[in-house]
Each structure stands twice: as C-alpha cells, then as structure tokens.
Amino acid sequence: MAEPPLLEARGLTRSYGAVRALRGVDLTLAPGDVLLVLGPNGAGKSTLLRTLAGLLRPQAGTVAVRGRTLSGDDPDARRPIGLLSHQSLLYDELSLLENLVLAGRLYDVPEPEHHARAALAAQGLSDRAGDRPRQLSRGMLQRAAIARALLHQPALLLLDEPFTGLDAVAGDRLRALLTTLHEPSRAMVIVTHHAGEAWDIATRVGVLVSGRWALQAPRPDDLRAFHLTYQELARA
C-alpha cells in the first residue's frame, strides 16, 4: 500500500462572515516540499494556513495529515503539525521555560524540561529562560515562538509571514534556520508577502487570489521573471 501524502487538502471552502475566503483549494505536499504561498491581502492566505493547521474547520473539503483527517475526534492527527503564527502563542504570565515545558507536556515530549531548555538554547535564549514573553524584543519573541513551534519536531511546519517585523540580522538568522529545517522528512508551508525572503529554500510556489490557486507549480529558477508573473496574477 502506498504511504499517504504528508499533507493532503481537498476542496477547502470557508467563508468569514459573508466573505468567501477559500473557494475550493487543493494542496498535496510530500516530505521535503517547501511551498511558498503568495497572494494579495485578503486572498485567503492566513485562512488557508489556519485551516491546514486544524484551527479552522473548512465548510467543505478536508485536510488530512499522513492520511488522518483533521477533526475534533482525532486529536492525534494534529501531532505532526507545527505552527508559527503572527502571535507567539506564549502565556505572558509564564516564563519562557514554563511555556515550553507546558507545550512539551501537551505533545508528550519525554523529559519536557530537558527538551525545553535545549530548544531555548538552540535559539540562543538560554539566559532568558526565566523571562516573561513581554520582556523580550520582537526578534527574541519570534525565536521563543519558534522554539515552541519546533519543540515536538513537527514534520509539517506552517509559517505565517515569519519575516514580518524582523530586522535584517534576524531575517538572515531565520533564513539560515529554515535552511537547516529543510530536511527530507519535513514539509513546510511559508506564507509571505515577498517571494525573495525564502526563495532559495522553496521547492514550489503557489499564488492565491480570491480564495483560489491562480498558480501552483514547482519553483521557477528566475525570481525576477516570477515577480512579473505574480504581479499579473494578483492584478487579475
């Protein structure tokens, strides 16, 4: 029997109020894929990412991770997913270490404290383990959120505009991290406004316009040529 794809979404449809944010989106990712999702504001990029993470239920269509449909009845289907969203998902009243230990417990990570410290160390935050999230700078907070998202070594990593608000140094650091995270066993979806930010690690690109794929293809070689295509699609 063939192994089910790491991620398989079929016919995703979802409205927000009277606005139809997604209108029949399909997506299949195999391990090793890195998909760059672009699109104008309001195209449904964030909705798509939240639906893939299982945080939004599609009104029609399904999301399956390793062949298991995301739904309230099967919490374990969510286990391979890691999400880096706009917000840190960290409790302001808990220290970074406590936040990560909590996450570790929720994901059944063995020796959660040990792994939490290691995850913080990997992000250069060892000396900040006792600090609260609000005591951190934007860049550090982002790293803490990354440490939380990676703690359970997700096979499917979803990133929502990860470069937004980072300075050049932090942006380079994140790019380097994403390059090391690009392993044959892992797939990533990166929602972004600027294709250039993660062009080099991407294996595929998708352009979302008004809740539908205007384009989904292997990543072309020429970023500048793609840019012109993108502008044409976004305008249409």
């Binding site: 409205s15 927000y16 109020g17 009277a18 606005v19 139809r20 009104q59």
Partner: protein, 231 residues
C-alpha cells in the same frame, strides 16, 4: 432572473400572519360573544383564551423547536437551521411577553395582586430572560458561523435548563389554576369554553408559524444581501 426565494418566503409569512391575526380576532369575538361567562371569575376569565394558548405555544412549541433546531445545527451545520432557531426564539419572546402581560391583568382582579411568584409565572419569566440572553448573544457575535455555533450551544443548554427551573420554582407551588384540558380524567371545561380554547390554540399555532416564516424570510433576505455585497 428567477424570483427571489427570500421574497416568496416573506410573502408566505405575511399571508399566514394575516390569516392568523384574523383568526385571533375571531377567537376574541367567540370568547366575548359566544362563550358563557365563567361563574366564579366573571369577565376576567376571558383572558384565559389568549393566555393559555400563547403560554402553551411558547413553552411547548417555540422553545423546544429552537432547542431541536440547535442540536441539528451543530450536527449538520446547515444555515437554514440556525435561521429557523433564531426566528422561533424571537417569536417565543413575543409570546412570553403576551403571557407575562395577560397573566397580571387576569391576576389583579382574581388574585388581588399584579405579580406573584407563582411557579408558572416565574418559569415564564426565566424563560423570557433566557430568550433575551439568547438574542443578546446573537447580537454580539459578528461572524455568522460563530453566531450559529454559540447560539446553538446556548439553545441546547437553555432547553436542558427548563425542567430544572420548573422543578425549582414549583417549590413555591403557588396560586396557579391547575390544568383543565390535558389531565388524565375528562376535561373539566364545558363544551362552549373548550371550543373557544381549542380555536385559540389553533390560531396561535398559526400565528407562530406565520411569524416564524416571516422572520425567517427577512433573515434570509438579509443574509443574501450581505453575501451579494461581499461578492
């Protein structure tokens, strides 16, 4: 262009409502002109032909309908069920209000007091507040899907609460007349009165259907308009 489905629902609702209102007028004439005056209570008893049917429709039709539609909505996620649950709950508010007004009007001459913490009145009052809370909740959630889920949860919880409120307010028992129609032995009402009462049940059920249809149609029209605006 095909006819707007919302408009045809609204039209049907108006027809039913008008018919029901004519029926209400007929029942009132029946009650005042063609039904004997009750010996003990006198004319005040006439209010009973409005009070009892509205109370029964609110408690036994409108509220359970909202609860059942809520359960089905959480299961099927069909927006029609949400619209129907909301319409039924809104009509229930109106009917409860009628019950809560006619009750004291009758109670003043008969019990000698406008308000009493009688079990049934208290139950209706709590139901009324529960329904107002339901509408307040609906009004404060913008996303239609979220509004549907939240109000369905409240609708189900509310339906489960009714028997508990019933049990607790009946601790006080109270002054309320006992059921005269649906009781194990034969109805203790003379035929002329029973006839008027049954006619009352009929027209108030029709009024409920008319109001719900109308309200449903209006909501449908609004939803369609919002959808058209967004597209």
């Amino acid at each position: 262009m095909t006819a707007d489905p919302a408009l045809s629902v609204i039209r049907r609702g108006i027809i039913l409502t008008v018919l029901a209102l004519i029926g209400v007028a007929v029942v009132m004439v029946m009650a005042l002109q063609f039904t004997p005056v009750e010996a003990n209570q006198g004319l005040a008893q006439k209010i009973f032909y409005v009070h009892v049917p509205t109370a029964a429709v609110a408690l036994w039709i409108a509220v359970p309908a909202t609860g059942i539609a809520s359960i089905l909505y959480l299961w099927l996620h069909d927006p029609r069920l949400d619209r129907f649950a909301a319409a039924s709950a809104e009509v229930a508010v109106v009917f409860c209000l009628v019950v809560l007004t006619t009750g004291p009007i009758w109670g003043k001459p008969i019990w000698g007091t406008w308000w009493t913490w009688d079990g049934r009145l208290t139950l209706t009052l709590f139901l009324f507040f529960l329904l107002l809370g339901y509408h307040a909740l609906r009004g404060s959630v913008r996303d239609p899907l979220e509004r549907g889920r939240f109000s369905a949860v409240l609708g189900i919880m509310g339906m489960a609460l009714v028997p508990f409120i019933h049990l607790s307010v009946y601790l006080w028992r109270g002054l309320h007349p006992q059921p005269v129609v649906l009781k194990p032995s034969a109805p203790s009402l003379p035929w002329e009165m029973l006839r008027t009462l049954l006619a009352g049940f009929g027209v108030f059920i029709l009024l409920y259907v008319g109001f719900v249809t109308l309200r449903y149609g209006l909501q449908l029209a609004q939803d369609r308009k919002e959808e058209a605006d967004a597209a």
